[in-house]
Symmetry: C2
């Protein structure tokens, strides 16, 4: 049983969430650096000062926004990856959830990729380091699954991390097209194409 939260706490959390959602929309529309606090406040229908009642500063707002969404996404994908099905099936399911998530949360995409290459001095960059790590988590997790499959002899042996990066970024390419060019398509098709290319390659076999 969850501790019964007072009405105030519920309202408070609701505000936080709606501010985060507004931030996601604005960042998606204008880009990470171009999205101003004023923009986000207007999008959320509050005054700029109100945001500072719920978040210490701009960085905290962006960080928390990113954190919530990425936790949701990674949770869904990990669940699929952790089953005991064969690699092919696990990859397919995990990719399916990835595409599904980005189809539901198109806004999140820009925020997501803007964290891959944090800007600013190395000093400033340290603050974003943890968020960059969240991105890397997914790759490391995937590398673990791949290494396991190598141990079982399902795939050939090679550097698992590098292979995971190749797969993860290649997958992103498809997401990029879907989100940026607004070409809706069944997640199944995309997932299938990636899995089969990854596992079997594209070369025609000569009998």
């Amino acid at each position: 049983m969850l501790p019964s939260r007072s009405k105030e706490e519920v309202v408070h959390e609701f505000r936080i969430q709606s501010l985060q959602e507004a931030a996601m929309r604005v960042i998606a529309r204008k880009g990470m650096t171009a999205a101003t606090m004023q923009d986000i406040a207007e999008e959320a229908g509050v005054a700029k000062g109100t945001i500072y009642l719920y978040f210490k500063d701009r960085d905290e707002l962006v960080e928390k926004t990113f954190e919530s969404a990425v936790t949701e996404l990674h949770g869904r994908m990990d669940e699929a990856l952790e089953s005991d099905a064969p690699l092919e099936e696990r990859l397919r399911r995990s990719l399916h959830r990835l595409f599904e998530f980005f189809r539901e949360n198109r806004e999140f995409f820009r925020l997501y990729i803007s964290h891959r290459f944090p800007e600013g001095d190395p000093q400033q960059r340290r603050r974003q380091h943890r968020q960059c790590e969240r991105y890397r988590e997914r790759t490391v997790k995937l590398a673990g699954v791949l290494e396991e499959a190598m141990d079982r002899g399902e795939i050939r042996r090679m550097d698992p991390l590098r292979l995971a990066m190749f797969l993860a970024e290649g997958t992103n390419a498809i997401v990029i097209e879907r989100v940026m060019d607004e070409t809706p398509q069944e997640p199944e098709t995309d997932a299938e194409m990636i899995v089969s290319t990854f596992l079997d390659g594209v070369r025609t076999k000569r009998s």
Copy 2:
């Protein structure tokens, strides 16, 4: 024979080039939006105002800088892609040049990727559209080569553009690791890993 250029023109072009190189270094160090005109001027060893003698505004400086470098990179890669060797060989050579280029021009990398997801209003974004196109060029070119290979029966038939995107982004992943984590390695190794994964996949074949 090139039209003999006057001494002034030579000096002028030299200045432009050294300003562009300074811009590349600063952008690589501080990031696209954090790099100020003051920073770039200091890096080039001139006063801020001097930059405006050679470039209309900040946008033009960045655009021209990007343009020069990307033309160089694409030129090198296209040359490799356009030979009449089998696909495998062409891919290998092209990737080799890509890795080589980024090893020589680490600075360019941040500028390169920052153009993939232009920020700003859709209205402002239009100015960057052409630069975004330069990025896409490479993918389209690659897609053409892949389609040709499909026609010849070298690889199985599928959406060539999507396949090219997958390959191009997957390749970027490796470049990212090399450039960001500063782990030098022979371009040959990376290129070989990508080509073999792409062509043959990773699944162990059962006889």
